[in-house]
Symmetry: C2
Subunit: 257 residues, 2 copies
Amino acid sequence: MIGVFDSGVGGLSVVKEIFKHLPQYQIIYFGDTARLPYGTKGADFVKTYSAKIVDWLLNKEVEVVVIACHTSSAWASDFLKEQFKDVPVFDMISPTLKGISYNKIGIIGTPGTIKSNSWKNKLLEMNPNLEVYSKACPLFVPLVEEGWINKKATKEIIREYLKDFKKIEALILACTHYPMLERAIKKELKGVKIINPAESLAKELKLFLNDNSQITSKIAKGHNHQFFFSDEPYNLNKISRLCLGKEIKAKIIDPFK
Amino acid sequence: MIGVFDSGVGGLSVVKEIFKHLPQYQIIYFGDTARLPYGTKGADFVKTYSAKIVDWLLNKEVEVVVIACHTSSAWASDFLKEQFKDVPVFDMISPTLKGISYNKIGIIGTPGTIKSNSWKNKLLEMNPNLEVYSKACPLFVPLVEEGWINKKATKEIIREYLKDFKKIEALILACTHYPMLERAIKKELKGVKIINPAESLAKELKLFLNDNSQITSKIAKGHNHQFFFSDEPYNLNKISRLCLGKEIKAKIIDPFK
């Protein structure tokens, strides 16, 4: 199976892209709703629980791990790749970096993701001449979880957060919830290319699986996907319909209590 | 000491009222930032961690416990009072109920607080003829934590959430963060009495301590307050200045990891 984890329900937007590009494989999803959000937590906390989750997924016989959570990708991906060398671990940052061909780039994410400077540092490592602008937008997640995709208040918040982003060429949506606001963001930032890292992730994963048949052959096929959450998720049905076009059955279990 | 706990930093608005009415006593505060927010978590989760925190506070030699968290007051206060019979436990609901003299009452809080129906049930138990209207306002907490007390988006969100509340006589702010939006809410709901349960709590606690000198005499006096958080709090300085007019020194420790 492909193991996908996130701090909560937002990772379903990543599952959406995996389903689109790799519809044949079974997925096991873990959303750490008991400890969500990761976006305002400290680095040590995010590393500790991300490692616990990967460990738990490996016990569920997962052949590939996807860190769908951007905060965990930012704080913990190097650490997880080092800790779990026997399994391929994919994060939300690396696949997008490879395809970047813009010079003036905006990044929006949770306070944790932005504070980590992961995106900024990796972009500048690739090309020190890039102009990179970052902004934490902590109101976007609760807006999406309310289902307020197109309200007056949503437009107002988008305008307020993105007011200094007028000169960028591309904007990276570095949080799983943000692609659900893509349409409204596009209206505010006309002419700016909006980048959803989940799309790059799914394409990279597809390439990897095409090239590694010894792993691919072991991954269970079919539609018997499993969705675990460490606590009852808030507004799961709403988010699930937004991302996957249907409701999913959640299994509630907190292995770390 | 007086032990005060909350899911995060919002309980500082309760500390503000305790300082105002009982300036002589030492406080020990625990904010469970590692597991915040409680407002969208399940009842069992909130009960389990609330009990762990009370236990931890008792080990710190606390003579009185204040459940500053509204979600915990709603889901766990009966349970905690039953579990910890040897120490007086105060919650955010009971003190306010006693003073209510309105017929048409609105209640706003986190999804957890509203879903629990605690306020509604207790109000109707008191007087079955009351008209009680409830609304979860999950965007208010992140708005306050951004420090967006008076932005255009804030007014828009308040308007959207409270649009059905025009006919009420009083509105109960059943979440620790909401008193920080009191001024903006008042502008939207002209003529409606805004009730801050932290004020009733502090007054009730004062009466109790006046009447129970055997407890009062044991409580440490002075300004050597201690503020513990189970993870680095997000925007603590902003919230602390909003509530207490100054910054506080946070000690980071997660006893439940």
